[in-house]
């Protein structure tokens, strides 16, 4: 039935008062009451996400569906979920347990041996290792690992895997739990965090987040205990490690500190000093400046990163580790677009502290790797990226896990030193593809050329035949056409050589966000050159053909030219039609030659400042081109400028725009404190670009030619 017609005028009056921002609260309440809005039925508000396990009905275990079989209950991959199969262990059927003892492996990509899977897996290594142990019964390891497995899914699997009658369950997870944490935060939490931030600063936020995290982890352990341990199924939890030695928080170097303007200037001065000292290998100077940075902003990772370099070069290994851990954990309080999986210290600590309370045995890989690395900090020998392990590290992990499982499965104690290698020796081609995939993975996460080059070289040294797929990658990555439709990509998929990289499909650049992969392609070329294959000209020609500035306006905001990785701290707000910059610099790369002058058009603003004394600067290939009249402006400002051909280089050119640092204005941040609002509070926007384009300046060229002809 329709509401009364007479209420239309009431609704109209109420909407007008609301729109006008009327302070006539009594009238508003009266109209509201007349409409009886508060008395109508309301949909229930969804309860916030909690850690919970879904007790299944035994019909499904992950993607595996229960099917009838003569030999007992078999679980088979469900055809309907085929599109998700690649995210799971490559196992088609789960057979009933027979004469072997069964260990079920649960976990995330690190548990799948990411970049080696499906040809070499943690499950296979563990099974091989366990079956080498003296006095142990025959054992099979059933692999149920899933990439990006979240807490609730892990718990659901823990419950449902009981159908497989496991004798023990191994869980290797914790790298993706930041998503569970942030997923559990609702608007109210962010408002609470905002209040904490105002009162206690970032230290308060750290405490707030850590408390929630430890509660989340403990709840998880408790549920695992209820699901498995309480049913006499022992559980071993492998605590994941992080690549402290070689994972660089490079993208954080670009992000601004969170300080008053005066202190920020000091932080920037110290940063410049530290970077120069690093270049000059002046370790003492580096240490002093880095410590200043840490003291000024204890929650910015860059100071710790630089201090670690000082510590390493001063023989202070343990201090270096502490610095690197602090740099890693900086993303805990969500500053910047850091979505890389990481097992934060608070997670590891909580697992170490509380697992025993719930009857769960732990294998502490951070401590194990630390011990194995001796005087070094575990780095590229152990990790392919931030957390995924090399074959050597997987073997070490499997041996320690086997040692932890032995008493649980057969009531025998076997020290890890007595455990032999599984005998599994992955083929050189498999190793090569893993390293090449690691090079791509590192590049797409903004890692420096050094580590990308290391993995390219390593790939070629493992198996020279990887060259073919490298060349194919160079081709499709450099082209403008979406990767999916490129011939070279099709050839890679057809050859099936990159199956280790998510079936080859992780090679696809996201739609609308294709990068030019300049550093990666350069490192591939460098590695190939070292093996006698020079593709420099081929790369240069293809770049010119696909991307050179010409007579049509080239949009420099296109990710080809404005992004170098998918870890771009500036690009948090993908929704906006304009680029938001949360650092003091924006970088662009474009392809040109020395034959043409270029015209640029830039529409920019500095949303939090209009101070005339603050200027933005434009730097081309390292040289400030001194474009006049680029003041800070909180409204869009259009500027055009020309870059002389003499300033350009043939091939890749770089343009940097510097933005004045401005302290966040708290008053602006009060109203909508959701996740994005909170991010804005911690990483304020310093500059915005609505359009930035370049085109060949033919007029100057013609004028020049006329001038030269006349003389």
């Amino acid at each position: 039935m329709r509401p009364s017609e007479s209420l239309k005028t009431v609704a109209t009056a109420l909407s007008r008062l609301i729109a006008e921002g009327s302070g006539d609260v009594d009238t508003i309440h009266a109209l509201f009451k007349q409409l009886a809005l508060s008395e109508r039925e309301h949909c229930p508000v969804p309860v916030s996400t909690q850690v919970h396990a879904v007790e299944g009905d035994g019909k499904m275990i992950g993607i595996w569906k229960k099917t009838a079989s003569a030999g007992g209950v078999v679980y088979e991959r469900e055809a309907a979920s085929k599109r998700y199969w690649h995210q799971w262990a490559n196992v088609h059927k789960l057979y009933p347990k027979k004469d072997k003892k069964r260990v079920v492996l649960l976990g995330e990509s690190v548990a799948r041996a990411y970049l080696y899977d499906p040809f070499y897996t943690v499950a296979a290594e563990l099974e091989g290792t366990l079956n080498q142990l003296p006095g142990m019964p025959a054992i099979e390891v059933t692999d149920l690992a899933r990439t990006n497995c979240r807490m609730n899914e892990l718990l659901t699997l823990a419950c449902s895997c009981k159908e497989l009658s496991p004798d023990a369950v191994v869980i290797f997870a914790g790298n993706n739990w930041h998503a569970d944490l942030y997923g559990s935060l609702k608007k109210d939490h962010y408002q609470e965090m905002y209040a904490v931030l105002k009162e206690h600063g970032l230290a308060g936020i750290k405490t707030f987040v850590e408390l929630r995290f430890s509660t989340l982890v403990e709840t998880f352990l408790q549920k695992v205990q209820e699901c498995l341990c309480a049913h006499n199924i022992p559980v071993v939890f492998i605590i994941p490690a992080f690549n402290l030695g070689d994972w660089n928080t490079a993208y954080h170097q670009k992000s601004a500190p969170w300080l008053s303007e005066k202190k920020a200037q000091s932080w920037f001065r110290n940063r410049d000093t530290a970077e120069l000292a690093l270049l000059n290998k002046d370790w003492e100077q580096l240490g002093t400046a880095a410590q200043q940075m840490m003291a000024l902003d204890p929650f910015h990772p860059y100071g710790y990163q630089l201090c670690a370099r000082y510590c390493i070069n001063s023989g202070k290994r343990d201090e270096a580790v502490k610095c690197l851990e602090a740099a890693r954990d900086a993303s805990l309080i969500y500053r910047g677009n850091d979505n890389n999986p990481v097992c934060f210290e608070i997670i590891s600590q909580t697992l170490r502290r509380l697992a025993g309370k719930y009857g769960i045995v732990t294998v502490d890989t951070p401590a194990i790797f630390d011990q194995v690395a001796e005087d070094d900090i575990p780095g590229r020998d152990f990790f392919l990226d931030y957390c995924h392990l090399t074959i050597d590290a997987i073997k070490i992990t499997a041996q320690h896990t086997a040692s932890a499982l032995a008493p649980l499965l057969a009531a025998i104690n076997i020290p890890v030193e007595e455990i032999k290698d599984s005998g599994i020796d992955p083929a050189p081609e498999l190793r090569a593809i893993a390293h090449f995939s690691a090079a791509i993975h590192n590049a797409h996460r903004d890692q420096p050329a050094d580590i990308i080059g290391y993995h390219c070289n390593k790939a070629l040294s493992c198996f020279e035949g990887v060259k073919k797929v490298m060349l194919q990658f160079v081709d499709f990555a450099t082209r403008h056409t979406p990767t999916t439709l490129c011939k070279a990509f099709e050839e890679v998929i057809a050859a099936g050589k990159m199956r280790q990289y998510d079936g080859g499909f992780s090679l696809q650049h996201p739609k609308g966000h294709k990068l030019m992969d300049i550093t990666l392609v350069n490192e591939i070329a460098r590695a190939l050159r070292a093996t006698g294959n020079n593709i420099d000209n081929q790369v240069a020609l293809l770049r010119m053909q696909e991307h050179a500035v010409n007579n049509d306006k080239l949009n420099l905001l296109d990710p080809f030219y404005s992004s170098s990785s998918y870890n771009d701290v500036s690009a948090e707000n993908y929704n906006a039609t304009f680029l938001q910059v949360r650092a003091t610099e924006s970088s662009f790369a474009f392809i040109a030659d020395k034959k043409s002058h270029l015209s640029f058009e830039l529409i920019y603003r500095t949303p939090h400042t209009n101070a005339a004394d603050k200027q933005i600067e434009i730097i081309i290939n390292g040289e400030n081109i001194n474009v006049p009249h680029l003041p800070a402006s909180d409204t869009w400002r259009a500027v055009t400028f020309t870059v002389q051909k003499e300033l350009l280089v043939n091939g890749v050119n770089h343009c940097t725009i510097t933005w004045p640092y401005v302290e966040a204005n708290w008053n602006d941040l009060n109203s909508s404190m959701d996740r994005y609002g909170f991010f804005n509070a911690l990483s304020p926007v310093l500059g915005e670009i609505h359009s930035f384009s370049t085109v060949v300046n033919n007029e100057m060229l013609i004028a020049e030619n006329n001038y030269s002809k006349s003389y």
Binding site: S15, L37, H42, T481, E490, S691
Partner: protein, 586 residues
Amino acid sequence: MSVNVIGISAFFHDSACCLLQDGELKAAAEEERFSRVKADPFIPKHAFMYCLREAGLNITNIDCIAYYEDPVKKLARQLWSGVLTDITGVEQLEDPRKKVAGQIREILGYEGPIKYIDHHLSHAASSFFFSGFENAAILTVDGVGEWATTTYGTGNSNGIHLFEEVQFPDSLGLLYSTITSYLGFGVNDGEYKVMGLAPYGKPIYAEMIRKLVETAPDGQYRLNMQYFAFLHSNSMYSEALCSLFGKPNRKEDSDIGQFHKDVARSLQVVLEEILLEKSRYLHQRTGMENLCMAGGVALNCVANGRVLREGPFKKLFVQPASNDAGGALGAAAMAHLQLTGGHWQPQKLQHVYLGPSYSSAYINRFLQSTSLQYTNFSTDKGKLLQTVAGHLANGKVIGWFQGHMEFGPRSLGARSILADPRNPAMRDRINAMVKKREGFRPFAPAVIDSMAKEHFKLDHDSPFMLETCEVRSAFELPAITHVDNSARVQTVNRETNRPFYELLHSFYEITGCPILLNTSFNIKGEPIVCSPEDALKCFINTDIDCLVLGDFFIDRAANDFALLKLIIQNDNIKQRGIRHDVYTFV
């Protein structure tokens, strides 16, 4: 200095953006074409950037953004009807313009003035201001805007005057959507299918439909709300509707029986009756000869045909983008008038090729990166037309991608699938293998304008495929002739779409038939293709025989797409569409 006005429709469905420069329509596009999300409701950011790019403008050049409805009035209607179910207290209510303005500022980055134009005024303006008429009566009909669901008015050089409206919940659009939902099709998406289904049925349930909607004096009518549930549930219809028809609702994708066809026909008949009655009323009130129509119901080309043939008006103009996307045009036109304070110069919308185009060099570079075998006809375009016409005459289905994309829901020879209309197997083949949609759905003909009269009962141009007429061709045209011997004709003019016109001519030279089957270049559930990439993906995923991308010709027979098809299907970008079981009033 030019006056540049952006028009925007958004936050409901079919969001779109257009640019008027000094009152001239320079560019327009629906957001779904870029985002690839069917009926994308979000702010049209890609379409906005396209409009700026197309006109060579930047954000600082925009004088005004016009939004296609008044959020305050809409809030009043929402408060009245009780759809804001999550509102439990006054403190939760905030200025509804904030959300719209917030998105325009935060997503588009626009800093200047924003004007809010009433929803039906936007529709009215989208039709009248682009009709070319000096003056006209105006009828807008849709589901709902703010309060209005139907408006009556007049337009002249001074502007538009809407003198009467029918208010929510009484709505012909919602009546149609309700029966659409009852028949198992999606709301805002399936109405067109119901119209296509209607000719297969008999109007034996017309009396029952008339119980749902009672006509009233003047322009008014009233829904009998006992049969509708959209005010207070997640369904469009109540149990009483099922009882009235004596049958439960049809489940999506279940068989379509004679009952469903009869209900569709009955609904169509009643809708046409009411529209005819109300157009007579409008004529009586205004005494004008011209009629302009817009609003989602104006996309019912069968009803439009009857209004023109049997109604009192001599001329009819229907806005080709009569759905909410077209509201952007009207809002922009109204804002332009307000800004300039001047009179509107009548301009007839000549074409709707207002979307993006891609140069031959772009397409060439694109194809060079792929493994495709293709032929480059850029140096001999005549040869391309002969080749394509030859393939069409040989029964091939062609994906045709040329020039600027169409604005509005119809493909008109820029992003089209084409075939020989004389081929009796063609309709079933394209429905099943190409479009992957319901078998009953008809296809439309495109015909050389000067020869239209020889084949169709049509005494005027129909460039936008917005009315149906009788087929009376010497050719058997089974692929484009509906069961009632009607067709939804597009007349093609040489000046507005030369490549398509010349293709029709080439086909005519080979076959003597100046007509092609023309359907939109997409498959069920996906937006019409926009870019060469979209076209190629659609081509690979369907059973289209050949693809023409500008000057380039790709023959399926010369390619093996097995692997590419697999790659595309595995593409991790998942296309999401919005589909409603109930009209979204929020």
